[in-house]
């Protein structure tokens, strides 16, 4: 019984880590009051998704998806089982850079909000918003 639980824990460790990170991120986005902390939660959530994608791309006994072109000519048969899945890497490669760019937009919005309301706490911003109406 204990061995079975341990085996499940170890064999799917990538999913556990990604679920844990995702929950931390969701907790940050939903519960935290400070906008800055919400953005940190959002970044953790993104990291969780990136980790999930990259771990899906893994293959046992396979190498990185770069063909050794010095030995292989165009006629050499390339077997898909020898290389890990390149697709998740492509998607995450762009996602990481886009994440940085969108984080920049989020931070500039935070600066703008701070200038307008002099606070980043949501419960202090909301009354000010109602007064403005």
């Amino acid at each position: 019984m204990a061995d079975g639980v341990l085996e499940v824990l170890i064999s799917r460790i990538n999913y556990w880590v990604y679920i844990a990170l995702m929950m931390i991120g969701l907790y940050g986005i939903i519960i935290k009051n400070n906008i800055m902390k919400k953005i940190i939660g959002l970044s953790i959530l993104q990291t969780a998704v990136i980790l999930f994608f990259v771990s899906i791309g893994a293959k046992r006994d396979a190498t990185i998806p770069i063909i050794d072109h010095t030995n292989a000519s165009a006629h050499t048969e390339i077997s898909a089982t020898n290389f890990i899945n390149p697709l998740p890497h492509v998607l995450m490669l762009t996602a990481i850079v886009v994440a940085v760019a969108t984080l920049g937009v989020a931070l500039s919005m935070v600066i703008k909000i701070y200038r307008e309301y002099n606070t980043l706490e949501e419960d202090e911003i909301l009354p000010q918003l109602r007064e403005d109406k």
Binding site: I19, I66, A74, T94, S108
Partner: protein
Amino acid sequence: MLAIFLGGLLIYCSFEFPLWGDPHAPASTHVSPYYIENTLKDTSVPNIVTAVLADYRGYDTLFETVVIFTAGIACIFLLRTYKTVEPDIRLYRHIPTGITLRIEKGGKFPEGSRHFERLDTAWVPYDLIVKTTCRLVIPFIQIFALYVIAHGHYSPGGGFQGGVIMGASLVLFAIAFNLRSAIRRMGERLIMLLAALGVCIYAGIGTLCMLLDKNYLDYSAFANILAFDPASARSHGILMVEIGVGIVVMAVMVILYYVLASAGKHDEGL
């Protein structure tokens, strides 16, 4: 509560997921074997990731690039203020003697003098070690960035990674010296033009392919004018596109730093 509920749901689902490193997982069975087995034949690019990024999934990458460009523009629109407010005090250092001058508001000072350098109010002391180290390191970082962009076919690398490294070297310069000297070297207008130029290179390559009687972003069109076989024409098309991506990413990283570090005023940062 909601987070724990969703977590439970995900844990339940993950029992159905394929095991770690399973070669027969659904993610590795549909298009990915085609990419792995045909990349070298189709594009003569050994790095499959680069080939998929810029050729098979060229549209995706084009619009990712546009997203990054748009993020940079949005940052400028949100924060940039063009009104120059005269600061309360300005600090100048006399370079030969190291004396720091403090000019109160309204005080006159010859801006163009070569013997004085303007200082940030936040950091007055000398930072000789930091500046010298950065001066030594930055050229090598930039060479490495160019290598990563240009060698994206044969080794891990490409436009996104190289662009980020290049942007990081410029940000490092702005941190080690100050924002003013960084903007003097790499002006705001220039950096915005570079960001637009990168997108134009990418989209322009696509349009060029269309003008040469192929589909948008089908680089084998260059085989008609450049006397390559279609595979190596694709490889050259990928390189050109990667250069465009690298320029965009570099420019947007620098724009983000300039705007965020000075909160849109472009005078003093960090």
